[in-house]
Each structure stands twice: as structure tokens, then as C-alpha cells.
Amino acid sequence: MGRQVAIVSAGFSEHASKRSDVNIAELVSEAVEDCLKKAPSVSFEDIDAFATGNMPGFEGSNLPELWMADWMGARNKPLMRVTTGGTTGGSVGIAGYYTVTAGLPGIDTVLAIAFEQQSQGDTSVGLANVAYGEVSLLNYLGLTYDQVGRLLSAGAAIGVAAYQATNYMHKTKIVEEDLARVVVQNRRNAAKTWWAHLKMPNLTIEQVLDTPYISFPLRYGMVCPASDGACAVLFTTEEKAKNMCDIPVYVNGVASVAHETAILGYSASGSAQIDPSEQLGAMKTSEICYQQAGISFPRKEIDYAEVYSPFPNQELMWVEKLGLFEETTAPEMYKNGVTALNGELPICCSGGVNSTNAIGASALERPAVAALQIMGKASNQVPKTVHTAIGHGWGGSLNLCTMMVMSDEPQRKWR
């Protein structure tokens, strides 16, 4: 039966809109070096296997791990590549967890690496491609293939998120100011995270509301940047973890549940309309995770959360769907400072995806930061002691979700 898994280190490359000084391989090696630097007792010989991934369409490279093997230290080592769109990072983390827990002979320590160098390609075209391929859906929407340019706003992430945002706003009766508040909290937090992209220590709600709309209700100032960056997380067994770091972070629950695909609220077959702010998959994901981790009262038991929210409305939505707050109460919590650095349940103190979004890496950076918060080594460390934390990711066309529950105590669910 499966073994208890622990995270012993996490590393990042510096993130920026254009890391044109390095190629993808060198960018990845920065994250790997940072990860190993934080675990001085671990050398390349100690790493038994690799789990990697990115969004292949964005850099125009298929299976870049093949030529990057030497840069990652993966020569003559087992390697598995997992890609699932926006959730790629989360899926890579989960693959790292499974590689350790499976107990394959000779594999104890696994390095999970996720990366993205978006400045090399055209992310909007890449994302619009999510809708492009779907001929039957395009026909249903009355668009021919050469008119897909119209879907650029709809097919790419912002268009999809805008529908989600209006649905959520309708349910919660919030105003744009509530969205801007989330952004301000994130960007100010990002200013204290060394590897973050958009650092704005003095940002105000007025400044955010002063920027133009991209797609109502999302304004330019509310939307995540497109970043270049990489993240690496070191997973190992419970026994080995104790010698590799002071506070091992035990991975107690992982899941990635998908629900039906939908673009613009229509399911892929065109047969049903779906509320993109419902997120059945995310709810099931968190349910499985909490069950595995033995968490009965997430609102009380979770001390810290990193959710994947390129857009502020999503951050509000996810914390509710993942069971951290009651439905429709999240905006109030942001207002009252519950989610701030020194609050009761700090959220996204790294600045979150809203401030740094190297897409393939983003969903791995969430558990990575959450783990560092438990270790007490995060760049923007919360003052209170963090015992249990979650890292979350979403992707696909709003239908994929990943989540990892971590704690400083192992959950011996199998014994």
C-alpha cells in the first residue's frame, strides 16, 4: 500500500514578463538550483525520478523535457511528463506525489518541475485554440472556422472568466470594488515575494478601478500578467524527509476531478447550459482531498490557502467552493481582513496567480508556497504558525481542478 509522502523543498526561478535572457532549459535550471539550494543535504544523485510538465502550445515546443534532460539533471533517470492545461503544475505535483507513494523499486525522491516561458509564443492564440478545435461547438454557436477570431475574447481565459464573474456577481450581489479589493491584497503581497512578477506595494482600489475594461466586469488592472517562470518541488518518503529538512511537509490529500467541458456556458455537445461558477468538479476535488487528509471541518482546520485565481472573482469563488468559507460570504471576509497576511485564514500571500502567472508553473507554485508557509520559509511568511494548508489549481475550459492538502503532521490514513 502507498507510502506517506513529504515535501522537503521548493524552488522558483525569477518571474518576469520577458525572461529573454535565458532559454526554457536555463529558466528551468534556475528553479531546480533554487530548490536544491534550500535542501543542502540533497544532491542530484539523491533524486531518483522526475515529474514534469508545461503548456506545450505556448512555447511552440513539443515534449521540451526531451532536450532539457541535462539542464534538469534528468540524464539516465526515470521521467514522466504530465500536462493538463492550466492545472498542469498541480497535475505535475500530484504526479510527483504518486511517483513517491507508489513505492516503485529504487524510487524514493522525486523532483517535480513545471515551467512556462510565455514570451516565446502567443498565449492568447494558444488559449483560443482550446475553442478552435471544437468544430461542433462552433457550429452550434453559429460561427464558422475562419470567424474564430471573435472567440479570441471568449475562448481565451479572460472571456471565459468574464462569464464566470458575472454569474458569481449575480449570486453574491457584489460590486467591482469587491473585486478590486482582492487585487490590491494580492499585488501588495506580491511586493514582498522575491520571485513574483507584478509587485505593487502601494496599489489602491481606486487605481484598479481607474483602468479600462477588458471584458466586463474584468478591468485591465484586475487581470493576471503573462509571466515566464519555473517552479520545482522536491517530494520524498516520510523516512528520508526527516534527514533532508527541519520541518517536512506531509502531503495528506491529492485529487484532480473534472466535470463537463463548456465554452461560454454551453457544454461541449451544445446540449446543456452550465453555470461556470458552479464548479462541481472543484467541490468533488476538495471533498476527496479532505477525506483523504482526515479533515472534517475545513473552515476550522485549514490555516492557509493558495488558490489559483488569475482573476479576482475566481479567488472569491474558489475559497467558497473549496469549503474554506460559506457560499457567498467570501467578499465579506476580504473586507474584514480575515484573508490578509495577519488574518485568521491568510490567502495567497505570495500574491497568487493574480500577480504572477507562468501558466504551466502556476498550479505547482500554489502547493509550493503553501508548503513553504508550513516550513516557515516563505518569502512573505504569515506571522501565525501554519499547520495545515491547501494548494489549488484550475484549468481546461473551467472544468479541470487540482488540489493538494499539506500538513506538518502525517495522516496515517492507510494504517
Partner: protein, 380 residues
């Protein structure tokens, strides 16, 4: 490693230009696998898919396959390598104890995209890709010449492998029709069009359309689901360095290391004696020779002397192998299914006698840079 059971599988017939849609094909395979085990969709708690965004021509190629691929409201993920690597992830999920039944499917439609052009995207974009002298075809040309030169093997001996696999494929009803030829000769292979000398057209595993799926379960559950499961007792995977100029192309380092890991797991000391048959993903005929040497089924340089016919010493690719049809992302998975068929005694027309232990392999990359090996054991 605990043994894991293969409790159901299904492969669609391979076509060079299938006359039906991607989703129908995926559904047929997934539904077929679930039916073959006598289970229902709701029994699937985890689904692993294997597709490639470049082969599918779209970003996030797994997001629309959720429903047809059995992933709806299941713990799902996608491995973007070979189907055999996806089986590895499904296997890990069973070994973790988190799941009791895992569905794995993989495949693509090569008729929808220029396969060799898509493979060019795998090359180093900062060095080799702009001039495009290195691609999967020329890499195979280099590897075959390196092998022929080192061991003084004649090209006819390599062509014999292609002949054997194409003859075997003619007995396999699910193989690609274009690859099935019971009367093919060495001369036919050598006279076919030159891809990258010494590689000729009939030595290449032709990309085609197809999807396959299989179901995995832990020992206890597997015995409840079926009377006759096939056990995965060992697995190994490995990746070597990338640049062709850095590698010794006459052998497969990654296959050797992967084999070592798999044999250790399954407790196999002498593969030559213990292994009854092998199903390799040989993208080119010579790879079959290099793989059987790397795994110790035959001594180095002796690969072409091995009698690998269906009634030979160690039958290799009795189903026709990848030369019998190569749906990208599905080929390695089909090798596992074919090996499982042999162990269950269900390989009608190409059954190997007394098959107890088998090897199945998958690969990706130029000259099989990343390899994965399974040890399968049959019956109770």
C-alpha cells in the same frame, strides 16, 4: 512492488484514415474496456488519458475528452508521452491505495496532422529546429547506420525484422491493413522508398488512427473482477540525454536502465530464459534489435541472429508490433494489451505457445530517448 492486475482492455481497429471521429473512437475503446471487465462507468474512480496537444492540433487536448474518456467527475489526469507511460501513472495510482480501479486510454488520429512535422517540434528550438536536419527520420537513419557499422550486420538482416512483423500483422485482425502482408519479402522492403538511407519506407512504423484502453486493479479486486487477470509484476522507465552527438546510438542506454529497474521489481535474474515473448514499440525495424540487446534477451551485436518468429526462441512482436500500426500516443498501450492477450491465450491466429512471462515496451523521442518496460505475468 505489489502486483497489479490488468482486468480489461479494448483496442479499436487501426486505420490509416479512419472514417469516424476522434471522440467516437475514444468512446468505443473506453466503453469496450469497461464492458470487457463487466463493470460500469461509475466504478471508475480514476482515469488517465494519453494524448498530445501537437498531435491533436489543439491546446489542452484533454479538456474535451473528459466525458468520452470516462473522466467525468473522476480523479483524472493526462500523461503526454506514450500510452505505456500513461499506464505507468494508472499503475502508480493503484499502488498508492487511493484508487481501486484505474482506467487508462491513449491514442490519436495521425490522419489529421503531418506526423513528421509535428515530431520536429520535439527538437531543440535554439539549435537544431531552425535548420531541421535532425528529425525523427534522419535520427533513425543515423542509428541504423551506426548499428550496422559497429557490428557489421547486413541491411538484409534488419529488413527481415520488418518482414517478420508485417507477416505477423497479417494474422492480427486489429492491425493496420496497409501493414498486413503475408507474402512480403526482404527484397520488397529494401526496394521500397528510401526515407533516410539505410531506413526504407517498409521499415518504418506507419503513423495511423487508433485508440486503446485498459483497466487496472489491485490484486484483491482484480481477482474479484475476473478469473483470468494478467499481472503487471515489474515496471521500469528511463530517459537518456538528448543530443544525438552525445549518445552511443548503437545501443539504448535508457532501455537498458529501464529494463534493469523492471527486472529488479519482478525478480527476474535471467531474462533470456525467463521471458517467453516480447512486444516492443519499435518505431523503426532496427529498434527491435537494439531493444532486445538492451534488455539482455540476446547478446550485444547478436540481435539479428535471434529467432523471434511466433514459434521461435523468444517471439518478438507476434502481433506485428508498431510496424503493424502506430497510432501516436496509443502504440505502447497496444503493446501491453497484445502481451496481455498472449498471456491470456486470446491471441487468435498469432498465439505464442506456453506464454507465461512477457515484456511490453513503449517509447518517445528521437532514437527512443525515453523508454518504458513492463513485465507481465499470466494466469493463476
Amino acid at each position: 512492488m505489489d502486483k497489479v492486475g490488468i482486468v480489461g482492455f479494448y483496442q479499436v481497429k487501426l486505420y490509416s484514415d479512419a472514417n469516424y471521429g476522434r471522440y467516437e473512437m475514444i468512446f468505443e475503446a473506453v466503453r469496450g474496456a469497461i464492458d470487457s471487465a463487466g463493470l460500469k462507468k461509475k466504478d471508475i474512480t480514476t482515469a488517465i488519458s494519453c494524448t498530445n496537444d501537437y498531435y491533436d492540433g489543439r491546446t489542452i487536448s484533454n479538456c474535451y475528452t473528459v466525458e468520452v474518456g470516462g473522466g467525468y467527475m473522476a480523479d483524472e489526469s493526462k500523461v503526454e508521452m506514450d500510452g505505456a507511460h500513461a499506464v505507468l501513472y494508472g499503475l502508480m495510482r493503484i499502488l498508492s491505495g487511493n484508487h481501486k480501479l484505474s482506467l487508462v486510454w491513449g491514442g490519436s488520429m495521425a490522419s489529421c496532422f503531418p506526423y513528421h512535422a509535428a515530431r520536429l517540434y520535439e527538437t531543440d528550438p535554439t539549435w537544431e529546429r531552425p535548420v531541421a536536419y535532425v528529425n525523427d527520420i534522419t535520427a533513425a537513419g543515423f542509428q541504423m547506420r551506426a548499428y550496422l557499422e559497429k557490428y557489421g550486420v547486413s541491411i538484409e538482416d534488419i529488413a527481415k525484422i520488418a518482414v517478420k512483423n508485417r507477416k505477423n500483422a497479417s494474422r492480427n485482425p486489429l492491425a493496420l491493413q496497409e501493414a498486413q502482408n503475408a507474402n512480403i519479402t526482404v527484397k520488397d522492403v529494401l526496394d521500397s522508398e528510401i526515407y533516410a538511407d539505410p531506413v526504407t519506407e517498409l521499415m518504418v512504423a506507419q503513423p495511423c488512427d487508433g485508440v486503446a484502453a485498459l483497466l487496472l486493479a489491485p490484486e484483491k479486486q482484480a481477482l474479484k473482477i475476473t478469473d483470468n487477470p494478467v499481472w503487471i509484476t515489474g515496471v521500469g522507465y528511463n530517459q537518456e540525454t538528448y543530443y544525438l552527438g552525445d549518445r552511443d546510438l548503437t545501443k539504448s542506454m535508457s532501455m537498458e536502465l529501464a529494463g534493469k529497474m523492471a527486472f529488479d521489481a519482478a525478480g527476474i535474474k535471467d531474462p533470456k530464459k525467463e521471458i517467453d515473448l516480447a512486444e516492443f514499440f519499435e518505431a523503426y525495424a532496427h529498434e527491435e534489435v537494439i531493444f532486445s540487446e538492451a534488455l539482455g534477451l540476446v547478446d550485444m551485436g547478436e540481435g539479428t541472429n535471434l529467432n523471434s518468429e511466433i514459434d521461435g526462441d523468444i517471439p518478438i512482436n507476434p502481433s506485428g508490433g508498431a510496424i503493424g500500426g502506430n497510432p501516436p500516443c496509443g502504440t505502447g498501450l497496444i503493446r501491453i494489451i497484445e502481451a496481455a492477450k498472449q498471456l491470456k491465450g486470446e491471441a487468435d491466429g498469432y498465439q505464442v505457445k506456453d506464454a507465461k512471462k512477457a515484456i511490453a515496451s513503449g517509447q518517445i523521442g528521437m532514437c527512443a530517448q525515453n523508454n518504458i518496460v513492463y513485465i507481465l505475468e499470466g494466469g493463476n
